[in-house]
């Protein structure tokens, strides 16, 4: 609360100013976002990987994507984990600050879409705070909320797996934030046309 007061006299990094300036224009794309985190507490936990795709004109643009494994040295150390398995993966590895910075450049003013996106946004906000930046300004859509709106269901939530089953999206055996982001993207396309969102 009153976050803006904390930041009012701070000098924000350059990339953040560029990001803010992008909001003068209306967004023309959606960005699907999925993060993998160490836990559910935005202040204590950290983001371990990010998967993200752009959706423009009702199609997922495979090339317009961002994915990264975040090397969280402190988290690994505190939990006595080696970062061997991370080193083995072919995914791009970035430190948290670099990763968040690239992500902000990537999403721009796009409308964010995710599954329980509030949490992803909170996690990113926490990371942004560590970089002396403000909070994300993007509008966000939640596919679970979209689905419940479609069927007028108020009393329960749907997991990503459940939604995939309902819309017959094949589950992959591999599990990563990119995989999830891609599945969310397909779900979003399906929900979007059903709800008549432009």
């Amino acid at each position: 609360m009153l976050d803006w007061l904390k930041n009012i006299n701070k000098e924000h990094p350059e990339f953040w100013k560029t990001y803010i300036s992008k909001f003068e224009k209306k967004p023309n794309r959606f960005v699907i976002l999925s993060t993998e985190t160490s836990g559910l507490n935005p202040t204590k936990d950290v983001i371990l990987s990010i998967g993200s795709f752009a959706v423009v004109n009702n199609s997922v643009i495979i090339g317009d994507s961002f994915e990264a494994v975040l090397l969280q040295y402190k988290f690994l150390h505190d939990n006595g984990l080696s970062n061997e398995f991370i080193v083995e993966s072919k995914m791009k590895k970035l430190g948290e600050s670099e990763a968040i910075q690239s992500l902000i450049v990537f999403i721009g003013n796009a409308v964010l879409v995710g599954h329980h996106i509030d949490f992803d946004v909170e996690m990113i906000n926490a990371a942004l705070e560590r970089l002396d930046c403000g909070r994300l300004k993007n509008e966000a859509l939640d596919i679970d909320v979209m689905y419940r709106k479609l069927l007028d269901i108020n009393d329960r939530q749907f997991s990503l797996d459940e939604l995939c089953t309902i819309f017959k999206i094949p589950k992959s055996d591999r599990n990563s934030s990119s995989e999830d982001a891609y599945k969310i993207a397909l779900l979003f396309l399906k929900l979007k046309s059903r709800l008549g969102i432009k």
């Binding site: 998967g51 009702n58 997922v60 495979i62 994507s65 994915e67 990119s178 397909l186």
Partner: protein, 638 residues
């Protein structure tokens, strides 16, 4: 590095022409892909749309490619997972020539031509694949055989289609017709026609057709001396010209010619005689187009030498059935044509066996039983048949039976190769039990009909639906006589059949809900064969046997005939006849959709209206049941 691009590359490398590319190259292509979701019935592109900058690969779902003739849609091809379509922009510059529409909710990959082009240029195998695809017509089953799964889907050009029924066949016609002006001299015009070897010429005012001169006009107006050869052509031309739109179908063209009593139709820009001329359709074009109709299929069957040939023809029949149903051609009509073609295939299969084994040592008849015997087999179902040979002296019996068993085995094997599965219950002429002499068959039917309860295990009612496929007509008649003689006043037999007919489970629950399968692979699906079609089929058979109506094997026709014979219940029978057609159509559509026998309907995929239609079709069954109960006063086996 892009995880999803790699997954897509993984997917693509399974399908041609992508299988000729390295994983590295595919990943690069995949990175540039757009993934599109198409809702059911959503159109991706349609005829005359400007070309997109991408072509498409189906990732999941089904896309229908179709064209429009006579303001109706005709299906050209279904694209399944891995199929490529919309490749036109790669080669042609003109607009799309067909419509691509999602048959069910589908996900497709849009691959930009600009990305793919370098891979084609640098990879001769990919280039060859594309050239070959465009050079060949996939509708030609011979090519299908050679290039199975190796072709892209949209190289189908409508005018080339071989397997259409004439109802919606489109025409190829002369699009550079002879044209003259109204002031031209008849003699010059005649000279022109003679040189071009064409029997007609269109008289135009600018590009608007105002009349036509044909050989007939020359004969009746010039050669008879009514007009001199020096007058202007407008004095003898026939006017106005009958004009049509470009994509007129064969049937429509035929009707127009008959209606206006003309031999030529002029194709114009907008179909009226006020727009410019595009070409001319002559009677001859109609004849040429008719060369590919069911009759031709049957001719080709008669010429086939191997099961493979027959299989290709059977595939064309599937196309024909699918298109006919799509076009709402009456199902009874489609049934007739399909069963004639099926019958011809069976007949040819027996012939091929005889060619192989040498002449049979005795006369015989190969009867189709079950659904083919009733002439209502639209989908590839399993085969049911029996073989009856004439009585021979006891010393020859073994050899003769031996020959016919071999014949049966060969024939059923051939049919299996064509695509008709073997009957799981062994109801086939290759089975010892169902390949025997006329006397043995007579005994068999006598025992079934006179003591139906005792050995009812092997009594299947399909043995009472039979149609000769090959051999001696008289043997079929003899068996028919045995059956109908036994049927007379045979209360026990009708009691048995009647109970058998009523035993089938009802399609709806007490609360008018569909009763669906509770377990097994078809859980939650509706068994339309057992619960809806079989009761009608069984009842129709029961009644024709009872009323001594010989030679009517088709369920639809049986009900129609019963309405005449038993006039006071006519309404019930007629309702049943209609219901049978409706239900068959549901089953056939389901079967075509899933390439199976269509026995189990997925209710979730039906629209509300279709579900109502289906339920309405059950309505006559109740009355029919009452009719059976009251007529046969069922007691013995109840």
């Amino acid at each position: 590095m892009n995880t999803i691009a790699e997954h897509i590359a993984d997917f693509l490398k399974e399908y041609p022409p992508f299988n000729h590319l390295t994983f590295q190259e595919l990943s690069e292509i995949a990175t540039n892909i757009r993934v599109v979701n198409l809702e059911k019935h959503k159109v991706l592109f349609q005829i005359n749309d400007v070309l997109h900058d991408s072509f498409y690969v189906v990732a999941s779902g089904v896309i229908n490619l179709s064209v429009i003739a006579d303001a109706e849609e005709t299906l050209l091809n279904k694209c399944h997972e891995g199929d490529i379509f919309g490749l036109r922009p790669f080669f042609a510059k003109n607009n799309y020539m067909m419509t691509a529409k999602a048959r069910e909710e589908s996900i497709i990959y849009a691959i930009p031509i600009a990305t793919f082009r370098p891979f084609v240029a640098n990879n001769s195998e990919v280039l060859n694949f594309l050239l070959e695809s465009f050079a060949t017509n996939t509708r030609n089953p011979k090519d299908k055989e050679n290039l199975n799964g190796k072709l892209i889907s949209d190289n189908v050009f409508y005018s080339d289609q071989q397997s259409e029924m004439q109802y919606f066949q489109s025409l190829s016609y002369n699009n550079s017709p002879l044209i003259t002006t109204k002031n031209a001299i008849v003699q010059d015009v005649a000279q022109l026609m003679t040189e071009a070897l064409i029997n007609n010429i269109i008289v135009c005012d600018n590009t608007i057709p105002i009349g036509i001169v044909t050989d007939t006009d020359m004969r009746s107006k010039i050669a008879t001396g009514r007009f001199p050869i020096t007058i202007s052509v407008d004095k003898i031309m026939s006017s106005p010209v009958i004009t049509v739109l470009e994509n007129v179908s064969l049937a429509e063209a035929q009707l127009l010619m008959l209606k206006h009593n003309v031999t030529h139709l002029c194709v114009t820009q907008d179909g009226t005689n006020q727009s410019s001329i595009k070409g001319i359709i002559s009677e001859r074009d109609l004849i040429v187009a008719q060369a590919s109709n069911p009759g031709v299929l049957i001719k080709e069957i008669k010429r086939s030498q191997t099961p493979k040939d027959l299989k290709q023809i059977r595939e064309r029949l599937s196309d024909l059935i699918q298109n006919s149903i799509h076009k709402n051609i009456p199902l009874s009509h489609v049934n007739n044509i399909a069963s004639e073609i099926n019958m011809a295939i069976i007949k040819r299969s027996v012939e091929l066996s005889i060619l192989d084994l040498g002449s049979p040592p005795a006369r015989f008849a190969w009867l189709s039983i079950g659904s083919q015997g009733r002439k209502e087999q639209l989908l590839l179902t399993d085969q049911d048949s029996i073989l009856i040979f004439e009585d021979v002296t006891p010393d020859k019996y073994r050899d003769v039976k031996d020959y016919f068993l071999k014949l049966g085995k060969k024939t059923t094997a051939t049919l299996e190769k064509v695509g008709y599965e073997l009957c799981p219950n062994g109801h086939m002429g290759s089975n010892m039990l169902w390949c025997k002499s006329l006397t043995d068959w007579t005994k068999q039917y006598n025992s079934w009909m006179n003591t139906p309860g005792e050995n009812s295990n092997d009594l299947s009612s399909i043995f009472f639906d039979y149609e000769i496929a090959f051999g001696e007509q008289r043997i079929e008649e003899a068996i028919g006589n045995v059956i109908f003689k036994n049927a007379q006043n045979n209360t026990l037999f009708f009691d048995f059949l009647g109970n058998d007919a009523l035993k089938k489970n009802s399609p709806l629950s007490f609360f008018k809900k569909f009763i669906v399968e509770e377990e097994g692979p078809n859980k939650d699906k509706f068994d339309i064969k057992t619960r809806a079609l079989m009761p009608l089929i069984d009842a129709a058979r029961l009644f024709v046997l009872n009323y001594n109506l010989k030679g009517i094997n088709n369920t639809y026709l049986r009900f129609k005939q019963l309405a005449i014979t038993d006039a006071k219940n006519a309404e019930i029978y007629l309702n049943c006849a209609e219901a049978f057609l409706t239900l068959s159509k549901f089953r056939t559509l389901e079967g075509l959709k899933n390439d199976n026998s269509g026995q189990f309907i997925n209710l979730n995929e039906l629209s509300k209206i279709d579900k109502e239609k289906l339920k309405n079709a059950f309505a006559p069954m109740k009355e029919l049941e009452e009719l059976i109960k009251s007529k046969f006063q069922l007691t013995q086996f109840s």
